[in-house]
Amino acid sequence: MLQTLKLLLPALIPSWRFFDTIAPSPRIEFRLLENENQKADIWQEFRPRPANLSILTMLKRMFWNPYWNESLFLVSCAERIINNQSEQSRRHSSQEIFSRIQCELERERTDVTTTPYLQFRLVFVLRNDTQIEQHITYISALHNLGVEAS
């Protein structure tokens, strides 16, 4: 209960410091592996943004934008994994990322029977002076999708 009230407090007394600094920005990448020992470097970005978006789609998204908002939530989860000191919060964020990648795989009907091991990593993008740099800051443990399905 106390924990929940702690979560409520920033809503009742907000800081309103929107975009005060442009922090390193996380990208979530994942891979599917055949077994626990496979070392394949086959990371793919989770839900990459489209090359273009029509004005009509932007207007539709005023009313219906679930996957983009979910992606923004996962950005928060990625930041919590890196910044948050609480083990419980890190575990929660990691589980959220796993479960939402898994849902996406199911939605896209990706066959995972031969590659049941899911892993994700967090790549933070930042500007160092004028150069854009990418740093891999976290690699998750393996998550066996086959165990959950059975």
């Binding site: 924990q3 929940t4 979560l7 409520l8 920033p10 809503a11 009742l12 907000p14 800081s15 309103w16 410091r17 929107f18 975009f19 005060d20 600094t21 442009i22 920005s25 996380p26 990208r27 943004r49 489209p50 090359a51 273009n52 978006l53 004005i55 932007m58 207007l59 998204r61 005023m62 009313f63 219906w64 934008n65 679930p66 996957y67 983009w68 908002n69 979910e70 992606s71 923004l72 939530f73 950005v75 928060s76 919590r80 419980q88 919060s89 929660h92 964020s93 959220e96 479960s99 849902c103 993008v125 930042l126 500007r127 854009i132």
Partner: protein, 228 residues
């Protein structure tokens, strides 16, 4: 705008914002779907003005479950503003006296003003915002631009510097608009266009709907202080 009208309009706008947010969660996993299906039912009751006092209280309780479910807000600032409006609305509906109603609704209006003023202040005190670099970074590598094509805007530093100053000046000067009703209405229209732009460029659609729900409180407060 008198207080009763302002409260009723707040109820309607908040209910619509909650409906928009909640429907988006119906594509999620089962527990999440259940939470937000419940919120849809309560939002419809709020929208049609049925037992609004108890409905607002139930929405606050449900909001706590949602906070627990996501270990914080699902969509940062927009969820925080939703909860702030909801808690203030609930407080107003349960307030023992008219004076308490005014304090609580006035607090919501004050927070709305601060949401613009503080956002502007933290930007204008940052040299990267003043020279346009920060907005360039937003387009260049942040998670927000909704398409790769929008990242190309980072190649127009002068335009982005101009846009940065427009945003900062608007946010900083927002409190001045309280002086007259017409200046406040003009400022709220500009603010709504600003949120609409953010929704189109950065996919922040929830901010647009929920910030609108706080506008009746500031229209009431302006009338209460300067309209006498």
């Amino acid at each position: 705008m008198n207080m009763d009208v302002a409260i009723r309009v707040t109820e309607i706008l908040l209910a619509l914002a909650f409906l928009q947010q909640s429907v988006e969660h119906l594509v999620a996993a089962k527990y999440e779907r259940t939470l937000f299906a419940l919120r849809i039912v309560l939002s419809l009751l709020l929208l049609f003005g049925i037992a609004t006092q108890w409905v607002s209280l139930l929405l606050v309780v449900l909001g706590l479950f949602v906070l627990r479910r996501f270990q914080g807000p699902y969509n940062g600032g927009s969820d925080r503003m939703s909860l702030l409006i909801l808690c203030c609305l609930c407080g107003v509906l349960f307030a023992p006296t008219d004076q308490w109603r005014e304090y609580i609704f006035g607090y919501l209006a004050l927070q709305l003003v601060l949401s613009y003023f503080i956002s502007g202040w933290v930007k204008i005190t940052n040299s990267e915002w003043r020279n346009g670099r920060a907005l360039q970074d937003v387009f260049r590598f942040s998670a927000y631009p909704v398409s790769e094509a929008l990242r190309g805007w980072a190649r127009y530093p002068r335009l982005l510097c101009f846009m940065s100053w427009m945003v900062m000046m608007f946010e900083i000067l927002f409190p001045v608009s309280l002086l007259t009703q017409s200046s406040l209405i003009a400022a709220l229209v500009i603010a709504a266009i600003f949120h609409f732009g953010n929704a189109c460029l950065f996919g922040l659609n929830r901010f647009f709907w929920v910030w609108l729900a706080a506008y009746p409180s500031i229209l009431w407060l302006q009338d209460r202080i300067f309209g006498m």
